[in-house]
Amino acid sequence: MSESRSRSGPAPVRRLNPRWLVLAGAVLLVLAFPTLAHGDYRLYLGTQVAIYLLVAMGLNLLSGYAGQPSLCHGALLAVGAYVTAIAMTDHGWSFWPAAAAGMALTAAAGALIALPAFRVSAWYFALITLAFADVVGGMLVEWGGLTHSFAGVVGIPMPELSGHALSPAELFWLVAALDIACFLMIANLIRGRFGRGFAALRDNEAAARASGISMIGLKMFAFVVSAAITGLAGAFYAVQKTVITPDDFTPDTSIFFLVVVVLGGSGRLWGPLIGTLAFFVVPELLTSLQSWRLLIYGVVLLALMLFAPHGLEGAFRAGWRRLVRSGGTTRPAAVTEAVRPTLDDDDQAAGMAVSIAGLVKRFGGVTALDHVTLRIEAGSVHAIVGPNGSGKTTLLNMICGFFRPDEGAIRLDQTDIVGRATARIARLGVGRTFQTPKLLADLSATANVMLGAYAAERASTVEVALWAPRAAREHALLAAKARYFLGFVGLGDRVGEPAGELPHSQQRLAEIARALMGRPRLLLLDEPAAGLSLSEIDRLGALIRSIAGLGVTVVIVEHHLDLVADICRHVTVLDRGRVLAEGTPDSVFRDPAVVSAYMGVRPVAEAQVPA
């Protein structure tokens, strides 16, 4: 696919992007705040809000987007603050290298607690973070030589810039600027492939692995970035307070940040800002009801989980949507496309051959595959059929690496893939769909399809974070491609729809589009026709034929034998984990052994096989 054929449509009317308006407004507000604040205390409070907002954004990245709830962000804040403070007071460093060291060490701590999280589930991780916070709390006291124990680190100086110490207003501006930068960075990361990757990590690991996403790398990324942002906040926390003691970082601090994120809307871009402001708009709450603080946190959290799981941001949006809907206006789904890719010669794929030899897979006492040997020619459409429970899906799961065979070999072209991780196999050019579509319900159809190109994206992390021209171009191109493939499978009018709201049959088609995004050389389709109407099956047949026309090898597990006969030249029949017959559809479906396996006729001789 290329941009070369993009047609020059009517020149788009240039309108000011509302995003720039919001940004300009934010900058103005930040600039004016020290004047508006009328007094040191409010300015101090404003700076504190800005620091807390950094932590909340870091936590939201990890807990909200990546789905790994952390109860140690208070402790991470402590690491950043203490490292900065100790380096500045006891070792005479200037603020900037001290803050960098604080960030680096906090990020390292984040990486440490991330290690077990690769192999355990989210709640396990939450408790590990709790235990970690406990340890940090203990060490702040224990390492008195370094931290001065309960006395804390005192006399932390203001950061200096070219010889003069920052004024409180300048400190506020600096932190607020970092808030804006961090907000934009997270917005860019989420808009780019990381947002899609995180959603897959959180809601559907199988889909993520089949799309070639390395879970370990992505999780580690979320931990380290989240911890680094928190460490940076810690550096400013130290210089703002000028004194830090272990009492500043109790377990309640971590819980406070979690409350802020959940209150604002976890996994929502504006959630941390709304949550932080909500807490400071009612500052009275924090002072006169100090002793009931935990109770209030608890009741607020519980009420949110019960009645507004997406926080204030989610509740606001839901209310807004209801308002808009009742007004009868719906947003047009169609998007004018600047880039309109079409199929090109360079989209021709060299199909991949599959050879399977002596494959055995047992589950407990049940042998699901029993010495299956099978060859699938490059560029062919090959069906695997057989009664329920004959091992068809197990075979697909072995080819794409979800299961490891007990015996036997699987080669894709010349590459032996036994024992390779699913994500690595996917990156060789193996795409697949699932019996029950595994889409990310909250993401748009387009974003779901774009997930399929995850491993192929070239823009670096930094480029995505800055939304550099290359990242923006790639994003636009991939979005256009995704819309193109959605059109290709017949969903051109559903591009903006959340995938969860598509009917079942369309979810199947969207999965095919997602698999195509990865430019597969081998496409595995698991019962694509299940639950489709007859006319939809006809269209599916045509679609599979045009996919094969691109040169892709297609392996299809299917019960609709009409469809199989229509599109395949090769059929393998499995029965109870063994290959029962092979050949063209005509010969195979006439084979008495196959008919009897399907229909459960008694031994062949007795069976009446209608012609």
Partner: protein, 241 residues
């Protein structure tokens, strides 16, 4: 003990996706009724609705005249309707004996009655007595299927619903399982049989219903359906074989 099961104009769906539409079946007491149709026709969904895992959005399910639609699954089990789900859903970490013991959960049988149930199951499936101490997860596929049926039999079902009992089993094992089904009918149990091996199912069934795309496409005495194109088309589509 036996009972008649009537399903009257039932609609069932998952979320807002409808699967069954106005499905009506009449299953006479003490009969084997086969339920056939291709994958995705809605056979398993129907069984799940009868056993209470799904709530019909419309229609009635009558067990000897009492409407059980929407009851909780444990209450339906108490009423004597047992469902052996597809795929040998056993408690694989627990032993064969423990699995059978779990079949008695909620049973009001006295000790002698319970012993009688064990005796019956071990008589029908002697291999289960032999492997009583083994973990269910290490049994062969056929033995697991026998255990799944045996577990349901511990509650002395009035209606026994079997979903694909032959799934993945060797022919000789299928014979044994079907044999047991016939013997259960002789003892008066009403049987609903969902089976991929249509011809085998129709051999032993008294009556059959064909489901297609969530509706009843036809029904009749099993012997008549066995020779009709209706069933064949429902499975491998028109034009082959």
């Amino acid at each position: 003990m036996t009972a008649r099961l009537q399903i009257e104009a039932v609609d069932v769906g998952y979320g807002h996706v409808g699967v069954l539409e106005r499905v009506s079946l009449d299953i006479p007491a003490g009969a084997i009724v086969a339920l056939v149709g291709s994958n995705g026709a809605g056979k398993s969904t129907l069984l799940r609705a009868v056993s209470g895992l799904l709530k019909p959005s419309r229609g009635r399910i009558l067990l000897d005249g009492a409407d059980i639609a929407g009851w909780r699954p444990d209450r339906i089990v108490d009423a004597g309707v047992l469902h052996v789900a597809e795929g040998r859903r056993l408690f694989r970490q627990q032993s064969v004996g423990d699995n059978l013991e779990l079949g008695l959960y909620g049973s009001r049988l006295d000790r002698a009655g319970q012993t009688a149930r064990y005796r019956l199951v071990f008589e029908l499936f002697p291999i289960l007595a032999e492997r009583r101490q083994s973990r269910a997860g290490v049994l062969s596929g056929g033995q697991q299927q026998m255990l799944a049926i045996g577990q349901a039999l511990m509650r002395d079902p009035r209606v026994l619903m079997l979903d694909e009992p032959s799934l993945g089993l060797a022919p000789i094992i299928v014979d044994q399982v079907l044999d047991v089904i016939v013997r259960l009918r002789a003892a008066g149990t009403t049987i609903v049989l969902v089976e991929q091996m249509v011809e085998r199912a129709l051999e032993i069934a008294d009556y059959a219903y064909v489901l297609q795309n969530g509706r009843v496409a036809g029904h009749g005495p099993a012997a008549e359906l066995a020779t009709s194109d209706l069933v064949r088309n429902a499975y491998i589509g028109a034009g082959h074989g």
